[in-house]
């Protein structure tokens, strides 16, 4: 399996292309913006986009869908029936879909948005805006933030240490790294007073 990353300067979103080494049918995850570079990756590797997976409906992650539909005939998967004007195949939490021969597990994690999904393909997680390297997604309020932290811990941090995480924004990571260094996730388990004590102690050591 090959995974290609493309960074879009429109919306600062990562788009991923997942396909086999020999080319053929491929999955496009979160096409935020389509430019020559993205088309170049698809064509150079002889990929035909047969599936689009949307982690959620925000413009930065869906802006390029209409352009892709002009070039290929992919099936679009998302949590809701309709994403803007596009007809979408609805997927639910726990479902496994086969996209061009590649099994994709669907995990629903509301918090950043109600329709936020995480896709698990082999040993990789495509987390959209739910979990990023050392951050969690923004939320409309504290209730949603608390819910998101709980649900990430329950549904994602239980995965194996070596599972790779490819987020919608920023650098990739691994589950172990997030468990140890994601300050948004560790802040709930360590009180601010204790964090400060640890910091003071570390500073005194050097």
């Amino acid at each position: 399996m090959r995974i290609y990353q493309h960074f879009s300067v429109v919306g600062f979103c990562n788009t991923y292309i997942v396909g086999e080494k020999k080319g053929g049918q491929a999955i496009l995850i979160d096409p935020g913006h389509v430019d020559n570079e993205l088309i170049g990756i698809i064509e150079k590797n002889n990929f035909i986009i047969s599936t689009i997976l949307l982690t959620h409906r925000h413009e930065a992650h869906t802006g390029g869908v209409s352009t892709i539909l002009k070039l290929y005939k992919p099936k679009i998967y998302a949590y809701t029936k309709k994403v803007y004007e596009f007809e979408v195949t609805e997927v639910a939490d726990g479902a496994t879909i086969i996209c061009g021969g590649i099994p994709v597990e669907v995990i629903h994690l509301p918090g950043h948005s109600v329709d936020s999904l995480v896709y698990k393909i082999g040993h990789t997680l495509f987390t959209g805006d739910t979990l990023m390297a050392t951050r969690i997604g923004s939320t409309p309020g504290f209730m949603e933030r608390s819910l998101l932290i709980k649900i990430i811990k329950r549904k994602l941090l239980n995965f194996d240490d070596n599972i790779l995480v490819f987020p919608g924004h920023g650098a990739p990571t691994k589950i172990k790294n997030e468990r140890l260094f994601n300050s948004d996730l560790t802040e709930e388990t360590v009180s601010p007073w204790l964090r400060n004590q640890i910091r003071l102690e570390r500073n005194n050591r050097f």
Binding site: M1, R2, I3, Q5, F7, F12, G122, H123, T124, A133, T134, R135, D160, D161, N162, L164, H169, G170, A171, P172, T173, K174, K176, N177, L180, F181, N182, S183, R199, R202, N203, F206
Partner: protein
């Protein structure tokens, strides 16, 4: 992407090394595997889809190589010259880098999380979209580098120079900082 097959050893969840059925740590013929890896590093221009964790590399030059979609977690690199190399989606998490040279490199979408980086030179490099979270860096030089969208969150940085760097969207939250140099850099554009 590198092979996601898991080591055949019971309770080991590490990825298999090269074409072996075990990870490097549990392999019966470690020397042979290491020799094979050295040959790849020395002879191949493009190092792609390789997994080799928990190994030790010392005093080799891998100048102007292209590393892509590879996993070198928990490795030790001592006195390695990576200068002018290109790295894309490589995993160097929980490694030890001692006196390594990364000058003029192009490193993108790579993970150095949890690593100990001692006396290493990353100057004049493109370090875009990288994950340096939880690193322990001592006497390192990132001067003249573009660190766009690179995170150093939860890191311990001592005597590290970030002179004349692009720090747009870089992340320094929860870092322990001692004797850092941000001269001529846009530190105000980074998260802290």
């Amino acid at each position: 992407m590198f092979d996601f097959n898991i080591c055949n050893k019971e309770n080991c969840n590490a990825f298999v090394a090269l074409d072996s059925k075990f990870c490097y740590r549990h392999s019966e013929n470690k020397d042979e595997l290491l020799k094979k890896m050295f040959t790849i590093l020395e002879t191949q221009e493009i190092i792609r889809d390789i997994t080799f964790s928990h190994a030790e590399f010392e005093n080799i030059s891998t100048k102007q190589k292209r590393f892509s979609s590879s996993n070198f977690s928990w490795c030790t690199f001592r006195n390695i010259d990576f200068s002018s190399s290109k790295f894309t989606t490589c995993f160097f998490d929980f490694c030890l880098f001692d006196k390594c040279k990364f000058t003029d490199t192009d490193i993108r979408y790579s993970v150095f999380s949890g690593s100990k980086i001692l006396t290493c030179d990353f100057s004049n490099s493109l370090l875009i979209h990288n994950n340096f979270s939880g690193i322990d860096a001592w006497y390192c030089d990132f001067s003249g580098s573009d660190l766009y969208f690179t995170t150093f969150c939860s890191s311990c940085l001592r005597d590290v120079s970030f002179e004349d760097c692009n720090l747009k969207k870089a992340d320094f939250r929860e870092t322990e900082q001692r004797r850092l140099n941000f001269r001529y850099s846009n530190y105000e554009d980074a998260s802290k």
